[in-house]
């Protein structure tokens, strides 16, 4: 960082109106942000806080229905909002560039990545083909992509998520822009890849003098890379300051709520469950998938789960962690027999669950229930909440009236108004739906509850509430919980024991302190090492337990 920080971008009093009839009248209202050269400014906030709208407004990529209604965005001495579109086009990709959240979809699948990067040169510079080519190779090297010659002519789908995000970064850096906007660039990536990309961005900050606007919802990421932080809520800036100030000495209550909601590792250690009977036993569960080929390509075989064996005791919360593709979801789907495992045994409360045939399986379904990740997709939009909750009990022979009575109680337990029985899922927010899902799972009084990434789609504050609810229910119902997550901190907060999966195999298991405190397997180590903001000691606030 240079001593004399030059202001690259200055957003002054920006307001962006929402179309009439929305939840509120402004997407962002009266915000002021400055970004200096060579610094990373993190804009942090929950969904709907207006952080992405701010970044898109700066880039000039707002959807047509959103219009800035007041304020200025000053960049290189000009107000971007009054600049004609043609001039803004000249700036985009040249003086200012952007990296997006989804590297999977941000690249055109029909063209090679080299072609897509070279487009930037073609548009903004007069360069010969060979110049473009050498520039391209230099860029690919700079973002540390192996074998640039080969990568250059690859199509996006041939690359991994991390590689694609590197391509996006190379594309953004192509003409050495003054301003780099990164909109949740690591959210869709696995934790190890995320660490690499964050590392790369940090390096770029020092190599280039660009100012970086980094939009994120993750305080870990903020702690990892931010120089300064802006906290947004409901379209307004509630607090801004240096990273140290915001992370360790937040002033605004909302910032405190957010930080308090960040899961921490000190959750469950020390509960004694070793003497409880085994609630679930998995032995050598194996599942292989075959994907058929097409006219041009070969079919493939994926070993999703390889000989997984473990036990869970009553009252225990077992965390299964791993990155995407590690087989954790396939494993739980085998456990509840949504997928039939190829081989292996599954015992739930002493019953050989894997060996049950279709008819007897149905009778025993009530013993093991699941809450899925997507709070939108897991509730049938055509049925009322009451209908959804009594589905299970009615299937298992409980009279309807009794089931309805029980459903009202369950809604109270998950802290929803029992009068909303006649409403439809579409009328609820994500967090509320997840509560409905939990109520539905509880309605059949299961022995084992699986939470399959049940909180990963939720904002941190809501996440925290749902996590608390799960723990509470586990204790009051005497449930056994299998908690599937990719988020190590969440796992650490809620689980007694942890299983780490990689490529369909269980590479490490043990109690939460051992796995996170003294990991044995290299993979576990690298996972922990990659955790963003791991050095940040999350401050404790007095009354956070009440949240």
């Amino acid at each position: 960082m240079t001593d004399v920080a030059e202001t690259i971008l200055s957003i002054e009093g920006l307001s962006i109106a929402l179309p009439v009839g929305g939840d509120r009248s402004f997407a962002v209202e009266d915000i002021d942000i400055k970004i200096n050269s060579g610094e990373i400014l993190c804009i942090v906030g929950e969904s709907g806080s207006g952080k992405s709208v701010t970044s898109f407004a700066t880039m000039g990529l707002l959807p047509k229905i959103l219009n800035p209604s007041a304020g200025r965005i000053m960049f290189e001495g000009r107000d971007l909002l009054t600049l004609p579109e043609k001039a803004r086009k000249e700036l985009r990709g040249d003086r200012m560039a952007m990296i997006f959240q989804e590297p999977m979809s941000a690249l055109n699948p029909c063209y090679t990545v080299g072609n897509q990067i070279e487009e930037v040169f073609k548009k903004h510079r007069r360069m010969s083909a060979s110049q473009r080519r050498s520039q391209l190779l230099r860029l690919l090297e700079e973002v540390k992509l192996p074998d640039p010659e080969r990568i250059r002519s690859a199509y996006p789908h041939q690359l991994s998520g991390g590689q694609r995000q590197r391509i996006m970064i190379a594309m953004a850096l192509a003409l050495d822009p003054k301003l780099l906007i990164a909109d949740e660039p690591t959210t869709a990536l696995d934790v190890t890849t995320q660490a690499q990309i964050l590392n790369l961005i940090k390096q770029l900050k020092s190599a280039h003098s660009a100012g970086i606007m980094f939009v994120t919802h993750d305080f870990g990421v903020v702690a990892e890379i931010a120089d300064r932080v802006v906290v947004m809520q409901h379209g307004r800036i509630v607090e801004q300051g240096s990273a140290d100030e915001i992370l360790n000495r937040p002033q605004h209550p909302y910032t405190k709520v957010l930080i308090a909601a960040v899961p921490r590792k000190s959750g469950q250690a020390g509960r004694s469950i070793e003497d409880n009977p085994v609630a679930l036993l998995a032995n050598n569960v194996t599942k292989t998938f075959h994907t058929p080929g097409n006219l041009f390509t070969k079919g493939r075989t994926v070993h999703a789960v390889k000989e997984a064996s473990f036990t869970v005791r009553r009252g225990e919360t077992l965390g299964i962690v791993g990155e995407s593709g590690s087989g954790k979801t396939t494993l739980v789907r085998c456990l509840i027999r949504l997928i039939d495992p190829d081989s292996g045994e599954i015992e739930i409360n002493g019953i050989d669950f894997a060996g049950l045939n279709r008819d007897t399986l149905r009778e025993h379904r009530k013993d093991i229930q699941i809450v899925f990740q997507d709070p939108y997709g897991s509730l049938n939009p055509r049925r009322t909440v009451g209908d959804l909750i009594i589905e299970g009990p009615v299937n298992f022979g409980v009279p309807r009236a009794e089931a309805l009575q029980r459903a009202r109680e369950l809604l109270k337990i998950v802290r929803l108004d029992p009068d909303c029985m006649d409403r439809y899922p579409a009328q609820f927010s994500g967090g509320q739906r997840q509560r409905i899902c939990i109520a539905r799972a509880l309605a059949v009084e299961p022995k084992v509850l699986i939470a399959d990434e049940a909180v990963s789609a939720l904002d941190v504050s809501v996440q925290k509430e749902v996590l608390a609810l799960i723990n509470e229910i586990r204790d009051s119902f005497g449930l056994t919980v299998l908690f599937i997550t990719h988020d190590l901190r969440v796992a650490a907060q809620i689980c007694d024991n942890i299983i780490v999966m990689k490529d369909g195999e269980i590479v490490e298991r043990g109690d939460v302190n051992k796995v996170f405190g003294a990991p044995e397997h290299d993979y576990t180590k690298s996972l922990l090492d990659a955790e963003p903001g791991k050095d940040w000691v999350i401050p404790e606030f007095e009354d956070n337990t009440s949240v």
């Binding site: 909302y254 009530k366 093991i368 897991s378 049938n380 939009p381 055509r382 108004d417 409403r423």
Partner: protein, 305 residues
Amino acid sequence: MTLQSAKQTQSATDQQAILRPTPRQQMIVRIKMHYSLQIGASILIAMILMAIFASFLVPHDPYAQDLSNRLVDPIWGSTGTWDHPLGTDSLGRDYLSRLIYGSRIALMIGFSAMLISGVIGTILGVAAGYFGGRVDAVISFIILNRLSLPVTLVALAVVSVVGSSLEVVVVVLGLLIWDRFAVVLRSATLQVRNMEYVAAAEVLGASFPRIIFKDILPNISNHLIVVATLEMAHAILLEAALSFLGMGVQPPLPSWGLMVSEARDFMFFKPWMITVPGVALFLLVLAINLLGDGIRDVTTPEGRN
């Protein structure tokens, strides 16, 4: 502000969310804003009423012929009279009365053929989408076979074999045009089947018919309705085409396709004779299609914000 008040902000938004309109209310709002759906529905309802009350509406018996009074012009023509507002046909039958009765045949055939094909196509499509694997492979093969058979040709060949009558046409069309039902419902079912709420229902011990009727069918019903309207329109057009080629419904039934066919001898000299039934056919199919499009628009899956 305290932490407590921040938490209240959170629950306040939750309260607000609960007040969101129900899917049905949303749909009613959308219908009110969808003019082409309203136009389509109005025309269709008018046609249906016309078909139901045909016997009260017609000025003459649509079958009563009068060879000495044939080919009378409509009122705008030189020999036109109010007695026969749309003139008479080549056997001296009142054109307006035949046109009105024709709506019965078009609607009857369209609806019945759609019903038959809908049942076949839905069963096949849902079965393929729900069970997947071998069932899907077999059904996909059946669909491929069906698609590779040219509809008009096969319909003509069968009708020429079995002999043409209203019932035959309905059954033949019904047995031929189920492919779109099967294709669309197969992919819709596949999509719904992969939704987590189906998995949830399965885990909750719901039986397979219960899942089909409670979870799958309600969520593919919008596709079903849209395809049903399309196929009803398709069946009406096909019937008209078969009748036009003389292998559809039989005279003296006043099928609009047959009316166009019979009027062909006069098309260069009395163009209104092909225009009138053609426009009626066109309007009916248009109305059904507008309705179908409208239904598709107003039932786009709710639940995502």
